[in-house]
Subunit: 358 residues, 2 copies
C-alpha cells in the first residue's frame, strides 16, 4: 500500500477508487523496511521482492517510502495497544520504521512448495470453479480451527436455507485461513488433513463444497478484520458470508474479558462501506445436545441439555488423547487431531496442561 | 448517538443515511451514564436532559443503552491509548460504563448565559447571515488561540485568492472553538475579547468577517478531529476550509514527538468520505520576517530572516508582560492577552514559568 491507501484503511476502512466509488479495505497490507534497507534503496524507483529462499517473486514499481506509525496503526486496527496481541508481536513490534508502497508486478503465481499449493486457488480460479459447477449462490465459511459437527450443521443448514430461498445449486466455499496463526492454534497442514477427512466421512458433501486455502495471516482484530475476511471472499465469487459471534476475536491480552463485544463484528460488517452487495448470514449457535447425542442448534428453552465445547477445550481433549462426546466430530477428523498432538513433544507426565486462552 | 452510529463513527468516520449516501462523522457524540443512572432509568423509554443549574434542556426519546467501550473508543479516535490525553482525562476516563442514545428533542436554543450567547449562532443562523451578506463563497477558519497577524495574513490572503478565482464577495467565518480546551489554552471569554480587538483595530475587515463561537469541545485528536471541524463548518454554510500543519494536533503525551504526522490531517481530510464537496485550502506557513518587521509567508530561500513564535512562546511572553516583536499582533489584541495573564494569581517572583507544551 501507498500512504494514501494506508491512511484510508486506518481511518475509513475503505478506499476511494478513481471513479469515486468505495471498496472496503480494513486491514493495512504494507511492507515494512528498516533504516538500512531504506538507505540501500536510496533513489531507486523500483525494488525486487524475494521469498525466504532468495528467489524473486515480484517487482514493486514507482515506489514510495513513508513513516511506519506503529502505535497509531495498532490502535486504529485493534482498538487497543495492550501488549500481547499475537500478530502485532509477530509482525509489527520489531518491524522497520518505514513502509514501502508502489505498483506491484507479480512475476508468477506464488508457490509455497509445502504440498498444499493445489489448495491455494486464486480469486479468479475460484470464480472459474464456481462457474464450472454451475453454482447460482456461493456461501463462504472462514475458519482457522478443525471442523466439528457444529460447524458442519451450520454449513449444511445454510445450504438448506439457500435452497428454500429458491437457489438451485448453492456451493460452499470452505476457506480455511492459511497464513500466520497464534501458537496454540492447530497448524495449517494438520487442519487441511482434518478437513479432508470431514469430506471423506461425508460430513460435508464434496459435490457442493470447494475447499481452498485463504493465504492471509490471522490478525485477531475482530470487527476490523471480519470486513477483510468478507471482502476477500466476495472477490473470490462468494455472495453469502456466514458470520458468527465475535468473529476474529480473542481474549483481551491483559484484562479478564473478551477484547471485542461479541455482537460488534456482525454489526460493523452489516454497515461497512463497500460491502453493500454482501449478504450476511448470521450464525445460529450450535452446541452439543446431550439428550440427542449430537451437535444441534442451541434451544434456549432447555439450556441444561446443552454442552458448549470451546476450541480450547477441544484442543485440550485431543492433546490428552481423551475423546469428546460421540457426535461432536467425525471419528476420522478427530483421529487427525490426536495424531497432531501426538507428534508434539509431550510434557513429563504425558499430559499437556490446559492452555490459557489467548 | 445510538450504538449503530457510534460504531460507524469509530470504524468508518462516516454514517450511512437511509438513502444510501454517506455523511462524514469522525468523533463520537455520546452521553455516558453509570450503573446507578442505568438502574434509575430502568425500562423507561425516554429521559430528560438537564443543564448544570438543573433546568431541562432536551428530551431523549426511544432510548437505547449500550456498553461504553472506553479503551476501544480512545484507541480508534486518537490512535493511541497513552495516558495524558486532555479530553480523555476530562471526559472519558471517569465517565460511566454505559452510553445512552436516542432521538433528541431539544426544548429551546441552548443558552450559556455567560455574556457570549450572541456569538453562538446555529448553523441555520450562520447560513442566513451569509445569505444576508450576499456571500458567494464562505471560507472557514478554525482556531482555539488568540489571532495574531500570521493568522490574519492567511485569512486576508485567502480572500484575495478567492477574488482572483472569480468570486465577488467571499466572506470569512472566524469560528473559534468554544467548548473544553486544555488548561494552558487561553479561556474563551478572553479569546473573544481579543478577537473583537482584532476587528476593531482593522486587522480583519468586519464587513467581510462573521465571528461566531463553535460550541464543540477540543479533542486534540488530529486527523480524526479535523474532519469534524470541517464537516461542522460545511453544515454552517462554508464551502472552503483553511487547514494548516498538524490540525488539532498536540505533542505525544508520553513520547518526545508530535502525536500525529503533521501532514496526515490534510491528507486524511482530502480523502474523507462525505467531505467530497469541501474545498480544502492548504495553509501557507507564516512567520515573523525580521527584515520587514512583520508577519509574512515563510520564504525557504532565506530561512535565517524568519522567527517562528509558537503558541507556547506567545503565552509565556504575555504572562511575563514582555512584548512580542512589533507587527506580531495588533496592540489592542496583545493588551487583552496581557490583561488575562495579569488576572491570574502570579507566582512568588511575579513571573510565570514557561509552560511545558502539552
Amino acid at each position: 500500500m501507498r500512504e494514501a491507501e494506508f491512511l484510508q484503511t486506518l481511518h475509513f476502512n475503505s478506499l476511494r477508487l478513481a471513479d469515486g466509488s468505495l471498496v472496503n479495505m480494513s486491514v493495512p497490507i504494507v511492507l515494512a523496511i528498516d533504516d538500512a534497507q531504506k538507505h540501500l534503496i536510496g533513489d531507486s524507483k523500483r525494488v525486487a521482492l524475494f521469498d525466504s529462499k532468495g528467489d524473486p517473486v515480484a517487482i514493486l514499481n514507482d515506489i514510495e517510502i513513508y513513516k511506519h506509525p506503529k502505535e497509531e496503526r495498532i490502535a486504529r486496527t485493534w482498538g487497543t495497544t495492550a501488549p500481547g496481541l499475537p500478530y502485532v508481536e509477530q509482525t509489527i513490534t520489531n518491524a522497520g520504521n518505514w513502509l514501502i508502497g508502489g505498483d506491484l508486478e507479480v512475476i508468477g503465481p506464488i508457490k509455497y512448495n509445502d504440498g498444499l499449493d493445489h489448495f491455494r486457488l486464486s480469486p479468479a480460479e475460484l470464480r472459474a470453479e464456481f462457474t464450472r459447477r454451475n453454482a447460482d449462490a456461493v456461501f463462504a465459511f472462514q475458519l482457522r480451527n478443525p471442523v466439528h459437527n457444529g460447524h458442519a450443521l451450520l454449513m449444511t443448514d445454510t445450504r438448506k436455507r439457500l435452497l428454500e430461498m429458491g437457489y438451485k445449486n448453492p456451493v460452499l466455499l470452505l476457506h480455511p485461513l492459511g497464513g500466520y496463526t497464534k501458537a496454540d492454534d492447530v497448524p495449517l497442514d494438520w487442519r487441511m488433513k482434518q478437513h479432508e477427512k470431514v469430506l471423506e466421512d461425508g460430513v460435508l458433501d464434496p459435490e457442493t463444497t470447494v475447499v481452498s486455502i485463504f493465504p492471509s495471516p490471522m490478525h485477531y482484530a475482530g470487527p476490523t478484520e471480519v470486513q477483510w475476511h468478507a471482502k476477500a471472499r466476495i472477490n473470490a465469487g462468494a455472495n453469502f458470508y456466514i458470520v458468527g459471534r465475535d468473529p476474529a476475536g480473542m481474549s483481551h491480552p491483559v484484562e479478564k474479558r473478551d477484547l471485542y463485544d461479541a455482537d460488534h463484528g456482525k454489526k460493523v460488517l452489516s454497515m461497512a462501506p463497500g460491502l453493500e452487495r454482501l449478504n450476511i448470514l448470521p450464525f445460529r449457535v450450535a452446541a452439543y445436545d446431550k439428550t440427542r447425542g449430537k451437535m444441534a442448534f442451541f434451544d434456549p428453552s432447555r439450556p441444561q441439555d446443552f454442552l458448549f465445547i470451546s476450541g480450547t477445550k477441544m484442543r485440550t481433549l485431543a492433546r490428552n488423547k481423551e475423546s469428546p462426546p460421540d457426535g461432536f466430530m467425525c471419528p476420522g477428523g478427530w483421529k487427525v487431531l490426536v495424531e497432531y498432538y501426538d507428534s508434539l513433544v509431550p510434557s513429563s507426565n504425558g499430559k499437556v496442561p490446559e492452555a490459557v486462552p489467548a
